[in-house]
Amino acid sequence: MTSRFRSKEFWTPAMITGGGLLMALILIAIIAPSTMKQAAEQLTPHAALGPSAEHWLGTDDFGRDLLARALVATRLTLLMTAGAAAISVVSGVVIGLAIWLSGRRVREIALRILETAVAYPSLIFALVIAAVLEPGVSSAVIAIGIAGIPGFARITANLASAVSSSDYVVTARLLGVSPVRIAARHMLPNMAEPLLILSATVFALSLVEISALSFIGLGVQSPEYDFGRLLNDSLGALYTQPVEAVGPSVMIALTGLSVMLIGDALAAHADPRAKRSFFRRVLDRNRTVPLAESDTALVRVKNLRVSIPGRQELVKGVSFSINPGEVVALVGESGSGKSLTAMAVAGLPSEDLAVDADLLRVGDMNMLAAPDQSRLAKEISIVYQDPGTTFNPSLRMGSQLTEVLRTHLGMGRAEAREVIVNALASVNITQPAHRLRQHPHELSGGMRQRAMIAASIVTSPKLIVADEPTTALDVTVQAEVLRQFRRIHREQGTAMLFISHDLAVVEALCDTILVMKSGEIVERLTAAELAARKVTHSYTKALLAAIPTLELGSAPATSGAPTS
């Protein structure tokens, strides 16, 4: 932790502002009561004065300086808030850990109880306690402190269960380390950061609620005063002396803001994703490229480079072409740049990546520019890796699968549904009309992927880009999905760019195999060369060695769909 405080990234503007404000408030809390008590509490004849050089915020009905009162109140407010926050945090952590340490049955019941308790507005909870105890400083602290316990306990229990499944805790448990020791030595240190961030939130909430209690007259009682009490006093004089509300309002806001800024800065520091920066991609101005008469390829890629701007080149000058009707495989391990290459070809690169090439075209569409969206949608279809996440969970299958037909081919709802029903039947999906009324989660993974394939062929595209379409599927389902790709190729002669990390999968399907490693194509093979194992590059040999002997072509034909 200490090294972190020295690092430059830790001291963001929010952290400096928040930290500075809080330090200033603490200083005020220390100094003001001893130096300004006289001005703040002495009754003088200068009652209800407006702001002046002598009294910056004027005086109240008893001739007391309002600025001095607001500053002096800082000590009591901060002490009360700290007390309440400490009660919430300490009891919350202890109860949360105890819940995690207890048996499954107790834990479930306790979590349900916390769940219910958290749902209630904590201020109402505090009112109950305030109703039992006599209003005053300590009962306000206790009321707000206790009201904050359930929330913190639940968060601790949730964090504990997340941390407890991590490797080192599992190992420690296997080694027979006692649960209490695991909690103290292994879990607490790993939960410290999120708990610290949440403590800042609890502090801010306690401040608001303690001041609220005092404000409605159930907290600090006269003659003592905190921010809430001062604000309450100002209510009575709102018409005659509106400036009286300024002091306590500003002080409450500043205290809350300082803690919140610190909490936000801590959270942002713990979450590096927030630091990602955007760059504006420079697009080629020509939407189409002139085709040389001799260039009959459907796709031509020359010297394609994909990079994180200013940081790292991920695809380092890749060149290849795809002829009409050709099936080209891009093979390589994860991180080899094959998916980045494919998505660049499809015109869907991730928005934080820079894409550049000497030439990147599909048909005459310049993929370095912004080609016509309807043409793109019709001519290039994409099938993605994980069918579990590629569909919108809140829309029915029917409205998603017919999107392209309705948006870009101008079909009506009924017509588009008919086309899709036929397409679904052609990829062996049972009850296709019924499937359209279902949500994605009601279909099996294999079914979803075949539905995606069905949607990809209805526009009769020139190119299908398939990004690891079988990786997330069971082996038997994989075979069925591959069979669909082969059937489409056989029947419609669609060109494909097929991405896989598995040479066995591409062997049966592809005409040309490009092996990628670290952003470069290291070997180009024909299907025949691959079948004869005529490979030269050591990396390809290693990939081949990883294939279990499995004959895909002879996989048993499964009729109908695997049921969910």
Partner: protein
């Protein structure tokens, strides 16, 4: 802390709608409604016990405290009899519960008015501003958060990001009652656009509702903004981009529906907390609702009224949370807990 409702629901698998065997197919809504009703009953039981305990838990002799400083022994005795404190605790509890069930919560020590009547006159005022604020908060913060998230996605428009973050933190860190006081100073005292207090005209609603909304609009639009950023990174958004659907269609059909669920789940508690906010706000505007009622009751140690109002506020909170659950289930049937398994 968010998906608990969803998780809990999905833990109890119902029978999928597509399952065969024509006899009795349990509709997913049946289980859902039963669970929610069970939750309501449980909350009611807990609230009854808690409100009952307020009196026996008072340190010292509750009757002496309840009667107030300087009460004569005769007054103490009458309070003791009124609260039934001379009876065994269990008998007290049974009497209390049967009273609650008959909507008879006793009479106010101060005014002698029946607690039920008092609640029925005050309740509409609190419900009015709390519900109005909840609706307006949702209507404002969802579009606001979405637009900011879309404009700042992937680190674009850093300036907007910074302004949004700064303004929402600033406004949110000012408590509702401070906002309320400042609103009164500016719009009622200085500009005289709206009345400062009371609930006489329709324009009296403006300032209390505004004071209640401002903070939650900031928090929830921040939540919406963060959730939108998460949804924008989902695979199905890439699918929609791959289908070249255009920004409007993608955002309305692919982003918004997936946002509502998480946002509502996260906001349910914040919305329920509006009740607590309303309690405090009422002090500023002399709003004749339950909040003012309970504050006065606590200050005057009017225990029958305290019990009644805490009970009704708790029930209201339960109701709001249940309503959020209901809306969630209608929007996204997966929240019913009747999903088929995912192979």
């Amino acid at each position: 802390m968010t998906s608990s409702i969803v998780v809990e629901a999905s833990r109890t698998p119902g029978v999928g709608a597509g399952s065969a065997g024509g006899r009795f197919i349990r509709h997913p809504w049946v289980g859902f409604v039963l669970r929610r009703l069970g939750g309501l009953v449980l909350s009611f039981v807990v609230l009854t016990v808690v409100t009952f305990l307020i009196v026996p838990l008072i340190p010292g002799d509750p009757a002496v405290i309840a009667a107030g400083d300087g009460a004569s022994p005769a007054q103490v005795a009458s309070v003791r009899a009124e609260l039934g404190l001379d009876l065994p605790v269990l008998t007290q509890f049974v009497n209390y519960v049967s009273g609650v069930l008959r909507l008879d919560m006793g009479n106010s020590f101060v005014s002698g008015e029946s607690v039920s009547t008092l609640i029925f006159t005050r309740f509409p005022f609190t419900a009015e501003i709390a519900l109005l604020a909840i609706v307006l908060v949702l209507l404002l913060s969802v579009p606001l958060g979405m637009i900011v998230a879309i404009l700042t996605r992937g680190g674009r428009n850093k300036w907007l990001d910074n302004i949004f973050n700064f303004l929402t933190s600033l406004i949110y860190s000012v408590p509702q009652y401070v906002v309320a006081t400042l609103l009164v100073v500016v719009f009622a005292v200085t500009l005289r656009w709206f009345p400062a207090a009371g609930a006489t005209t329709l324009s009296s609603l403006v300032l209390p509702t505004a004071a209640l909304m401002l903070g939650p609009v900031c928090v929830i639009s921040r939540i919406v903004r963060r959730e939108t950023a998460v949804v924008l990174n989902k695979d199905y958004i890439r699918t929609a981009r791959g289908w070249r659907l255009g920004a409007l269609r993608t955002n309305l059909r692919y982003v918004l529906p997936n946002l509502v669920t998480t946002t509502l789940t996260l906001s349910g508690l914040i919305l329920a907390a509006q009740l607590g906010g309303a309690v405090v706000i009422e002090t500023v505007f002399a709003w004749p609702g339950l909040g003012q009622g309970i504050v006065n009751a606590i200050l005057q140690r009017d225990y029958p009224v305290i019990r009644g109002i805490i009970l009704i506020l708790g029930l209201l909170a339960t109701l709001i949370i249940t309503m959020v659950d209901l809306i969630l289930a209608i929007i996204d049937p997966r929240n019913l807990g009747g999903t088929s398994s995912d192979v």
